[in-house]
């Protein structure tokens, strides 16, 4: 989230699209009900189904899954055509006026530079035109200004075109567009609440970018009650991303080097961006301080200036990432020997289950660390039609290491709003369950002992790992949190007076502002620096004090970065530093510095008309045009899902996202609308949390049995009755389920064709207390988002028929 859960109460309009907050985030949803009850805020829900969120919405509009970009570009087109633009904001705080290189273009669904064989672009024209001074040229009236290119790009998405693609009736689309466009007023704000309904598409990143662009032209980023608010699907998935638990990331969104970056100098040459406009902060210029401090946290005294701070100890990527799709593809090819599966149940959460089972069966060993008996740990066990495997033919050795669950452990959870909230153990672990940190430490110490005893190739990264814990076999959460915050590795003196020690060796750093690139500081994750400093454990704070009820709650827990509650908050004031909305003040320029309710997201003394609010960008402005940073285009464009009920009306020759990665053999496993006529989607239900709560009795009582949802029209056509049994199948698999026949799903008219929707919730498997069932991943295609490889779970094709159920 750019903002926080509590800030949602400040909004005038909530748009839930690409998510279902009432259903999947019921506790956070309370802030929507607060905004409605106390401010008279309105709630819009745009979804293929009339959801629990829609049940309490002021306005609902249906949309076909996988067409959000067409809808949102349609809203942008409406805003531009009706002059519903926050012009002062757009001109001052976005890259709308910048001029793009000659040669950039877009035609027939493709941007300049497409290479069909590589399924990739040469992105050289997707960039700014620079002046002789090295800065970007700026002139909003130039025919190649970002604004003019964008205006042309969105012009095709007329209300008629939106209806044709999305199936949203024109009057309903126009009503939504009108309500949204009103938030272009500087005194009206809109918040976007989205989740996996946007990410789980082959163009998931662009879905989100599209709304970010809309929010920018409405002037809704950096303000109270505005923002792009990703609702994370686990209590700590934000923490997972922040700490870099991705194959291509280091903590704090630093990146793992690739194999071409053999030295630290080469690695740094493409990081630490120089400003692209005069006087801009371009905060990533500090990259090396964060990176070196990370290396010091990893390897301590073994990371020295002489060895480039142990740069060689870091792995180097030979591919863009080892995401879950690539790992299971390699496993399927027999190229993976062992797999550690920690707090993850891929047999139900990665796509194309048949392929997953075949892949796991080729492993030599599988280690599962989990508090529960997961399906993944039992992939080899025959459970009849629910897991039809020949156990005797599977040679994989499975080792289960029972772990504690969150309530049996101490530590911090990072919520969607970037708040690190410390929690304490509420119970003692049962049986032989151990904390994850204990298990990881034991594995490390045993490996280290083996290397010490037997030697081995390049053992330094393991032997020299800094392991400064009181009990090396069991680091405490406090010790780990302090290391993540960072500390001085040597006395740090005043630059003007070498005799004056400003931070003594071993003391906690106050924040990342004091981190250094000379090795005198160590810091596990720079964006978390400040969470546990000499003031103590700030994550454990529990004050409900909220001056002037802004919703910031600045002394409740701790928010990254530096306890800032709203990112880009300098944009809440105009070019002179005066708040856009006096009733919703956040920060203001008092003549000499920035002051207000939040920690300024800018140098406190940076003059308002000189330094731009988007300090992480070298331009100082937000990007409506992303240059070459996204693989599938500097603007979002409508692409159909790989399995779509209609062809792409704007570019009929293009299937799916033209640059999404498709492994050999998987393209043949995509179905088409002739064979599989119905548009399926997957989702969560309030009664359950993923695949956990089916192990608990009471949630199992509330939703005991796997079902699929269809509309009354399709049910009638297919002779399906509510509570009866159906079979649903795709090109990749087949499931049996109970049918829920509902008025909440209605067929849509898309490009002259009637599209029926099949809804498939995801909480069932063959372990736990609920009745045995299937997950949607038995059906879903093996393809992910072009930028980050999140699998396309939200839009695929199936067929459905009524069947006789199993005899009781």
């Amino acid at each position: 989230m750019t903002n926080s859960w509590t800030d949602i109460k400040n909004t005038d309009l909530v748009v839930i699209m690409g998510g279902n907050a009432a259903e999947a985030h019921p506790c956070g949803f309370k802030w929507v009900t607060e905004a409605k009850a106390n401010r008279g805020a309105k709630l819009i829900v745009v979804d293929p189904r009339f959801t629990r969120s829609a049940a309490v919405a002021d306005y609902y509009a249906p949309i076909r899954q996988g067409t959000d970009i067409a809808f949102l570009l349609g809203v942008m087109n409406y805003c531009i055509a009706n002059n519903k633009v926050q012009w002062e904001y757009v001109k001052a705080f976005t890259n709308a006026p910048y001029i793009i290189k000659e040669g950039f273009g877009y035609q027939d669904g493709l941007f300049t530079g497409y290479d069909e064989a590589k399924r990739d672009y040469n992105k050289s024209t997707w960039d700014y035109e620079l002046g002789a001074d090295g800065y970007v040229k700026s002139d909003i009236d130039h025919p190649r200004s970002v604004w003019n290119l964008m205006k042309k790009h969105v012009s095709v998405y007329t209300p008629e075109m939106v209806e044709r693609i999305c199936g949203t009736p024109k009057d309903k689309f126009l009503k939504v567009a009108e309500m949204i466009s009103e938030c272009s007023s500087p005194t009206k704000t809109m918040t976007s609440m989205y989740a996996l309904g946007w990410t789980q598409h082959s163009k998931g990143s662009q879905n989100i970018r599209c709304m970010a662009m809309l929010q920018l032209i409405l002037g809704n980023i950096g303000v109270r009650g505005g923002g792009m608010n990703a609702l994370r699907g686990h209590s700590n998935i934000q923490g997972l991303t922040d700490l870099g638990l991705m194959s291509n990331l280091l903590p704090g969104y630093l990146t793992i080097p690739n194999e071409k970056e053999a030295t630290l100098d080469v690695y740094m040459s493409t990081r630490g961006f120089k400003p692209l406009r005069p006087n801009q902060m371009s905060y990533w210029q500090n990259y090396k301080k964060f990176f070196v401090s990370f290396q010091k946290a990893m390897w301590g005294s073994a990371a020295t200036p002489e060895n480039n701070f142990a740069y060689d100890y870091l792995p180097k990527l030979d591919v863009p990432s080892y995401d879950v799709l690539r790992v299971f593809e390699l496993m399927h090819q027999g190229k993976v020997n062992g797999y550690f599966c920690q707090g993850f149940n891929p047999l139900l959460s990665a796509p194309n289950r048949k392929k997953l089972t075949a892949a796991l069966s080729k492993l030599k060993y599988l280690v599962v660390m989990d508090p529960l008996q997961t399906e993944t740990a039992r992939f080899w066990q025959n459970h009849g039609e629910y897991n039809e495997v020949n156990s005797g033919s599977i040679q994989t050795e499975v080792i289960e290491l029972p772990t504690t669950c969150f309530a049996e452990d101490e530590g911090s959870l990072t919520n969607s709003g970037r708040w690190l909230q410390w929690h304490w153990a509420g119970g003692t672990p049962p049986g032989e369950a151990k904390h994850d940190s204990w298990i990881m430490s034991q594995i490390h110490l045993r490996l280290k002992a083996l290397y010490q005893k037997e030697g081995g190739a390049f053992s330094d990264p393991i032997l020299k790992l800094d392991w400064r814990y009181k009990d090396p076999g069991s680091p405490t959460s406090e010790e780990l949190a302090k290391e993540v915050n960072g500390y001085a590795t040597e006395d740090i003196t005043d630059p003007n007076d070498a005799t004056k020690v400003v931070l003594a060796k071993g003391k906690q750093v106050v924040s990342f502002a004091v981190l250094r690139d000379d090795g005198k500081t160590a810091c596990g994750c720079w964006i978390y620096s400040g969470s546990f400093n000499e003031a103590g454990n700030n994550m454990a704070r529990r004050s409900t004090n909220d001056p002037d009820s802004t919703g910031a709650y600045p002394t409740w827990a701790w928010s990254w970065p530096v306890n800032r509650r709203i990112l880009y908050n300098r944009a809440s004031a105009d070019i002179n530093g005066k708040p856009w909305d006096d009733s919703r003040k956040l920060l203001w320029w008092d003549g000499s510095k920035w002051t207000g309710y939040d920690v300024p997201d800018i140098l406190p003394t940076a003059k308002p008309d000189v330094v731009g609010p988007f300090i992480m960008n070298p331009e100082g402005t937000a990007r409506l045009f992303t240059r070459g940073l996204m693989r599938d285009g500097p603007f979002p464009a409508h692409y159909e899902p790989f399995e779509a009920p209609v062809v792409n009306v704007l570019a009929p020759k293009i299937r799916g996202n033209p640059v999404a990665r498709v492994f050999k053999g998987d393209m043949e496993q995509f179905g088409d609308a002739k064979e599989f006529p119905y548009a399926a989607t997957s989702y969560r239900l309030t009664e359950h949390f993923h695949f956990w709560t089916k192990h608990a009795h009471n949630p199992a009582v509330m939703q005991p049995e796997f079902f699929v949802e269809i509309g009354e029209e399709l049910a009638k056509q297919k002779g399906i009755t509510g509570g009866g049994w159906v079979r649903v199948w795709s090109k990749r698999g087949s499931v049996k389920a109970k049918a829920v026949v509902t008025k909440r799903i209605k067929p849509l008219q898309c490009d002259g064709k009637t599209v029926h929707i099949v809804g498939i919730p995801l909480h069932w498997g063959f372990m736990g207390e609920t009745k045995k069932g299937f997950g949607p991943n038995s059906l879903t295609p093996y393809v992910g988002d072009a930028n980050i490889e999140t699998p396309e779970y939200k839009a695929f094709l199936v067929d459905i028929e009524s069947i006789t159920g199993p005899t009781a």
């Binding site: 109460k9 400040n10 005038d12 009432a22 259903e23 019921p26 506790c27 949803f29 309370k30 009900t33 607060e34 409605k36 009850a37 106390n38 401010r39 008279g40 009339f50 629990r52 969120s53 829609a54 049940a55 309490v56 002021d58 609902y60 909220d546 002037d548 009820s549 802004t550 919703g551 009733s583 919703r584 309030t686 009664e687 009795h697 009471n698 949630p699 199992a700 009582v701 509330m702 939703q703 005991p704 049995e705 796997f706 079902f707 009755t721 509510g722 509570g723 009866g724 109970k738 049918a739 829920v740 026949v741 509902t742 008025k743 909440r744 207390e769 609920t770 009745k771």
Partner: protein, 318 residues
Amino acid sequence: MANFEFVLPPAPTTNIKVAFGEGDLVARSASSVPPPAKQLTPVAKLIDVSKCIGCKACEVACLEWNNLRHPIGINTGSYNIPPDLDPNIFTVMRFTEWVNPETKNLEWLIRKDGCMHCVDPGCLKACPAPGAIVQYSNGIVDFDHEKCIGCGYCVRGCPFNIPRISRNADQPKAYKCTLCSDRVAVGQGPACAKSCPTHAIVFGTKDEMKKHAEGRIKDLKSRGFSNAGLYDPPGVGGTHVMYVLAHADKPEIYAGLPKDPKISTVVEIWKGLFKYAGFIAIGGLAAVSVLHQVIAGPNRVSRADEDNAKRLAGSDKK
């Protein structure tokens, strides 16, 4: 201009006289009670249907607090799971897909069903077992399972069809929501209200709840629900569980919430006849049998229930 006053719905209030017991009874089934020395502040639970997202957290909280073990059932084609109240679940969500004839828009009506804690409780009036159903001066209507004979008359007496009789035990008993009388007695709100993530369920004094409802109704009217209103039906003297309904003119669309609930005339007559005499004075098996037929109807109560009632009535006579 925007109003930034941050008003959470009223928390369980501190001015509720918490501790209550035998001395605070205002009514006792098939028997009389002396007038209480003091009047407790009437309490109420307000269920704002327009804020309810049907998450069932209240159902789970109710199961947990009351230590109930409900069996794992099946999906019968809707979200109404478990499908009905029973001795092992005192509150259920009732989901209705309703097309508004005026706007042609679908509305997904979700109502938390359970005991309404009537000011004039039909269950208590119908109950033939002395002290099995009691009413406190704060409005809570509670069942005393020690004294319950499981006859099922309370089911027939209830205009909202709430109590359920356990069938599996040797000793059938009637069960329903207690308004968490055990929690309220120590200054806590009901478990359902405590667990509600959107504050659709709130608890406090009845006056506070009515005032809170006024604000909610004003908000709903501003959103075009011109018939929004409070459900506090006068036919049963008002209730200590109230609803805010967007369509208060049509309560029946909310899964059959009665428009004008009243205690059945048969129960009123029965109560009138024996108000002073009490159950012991009924005097005969014949009278019970006849009344049973009239009140409970032939199919409402099992043979075992009836035998039990007869046995108990007989033993009382000795």
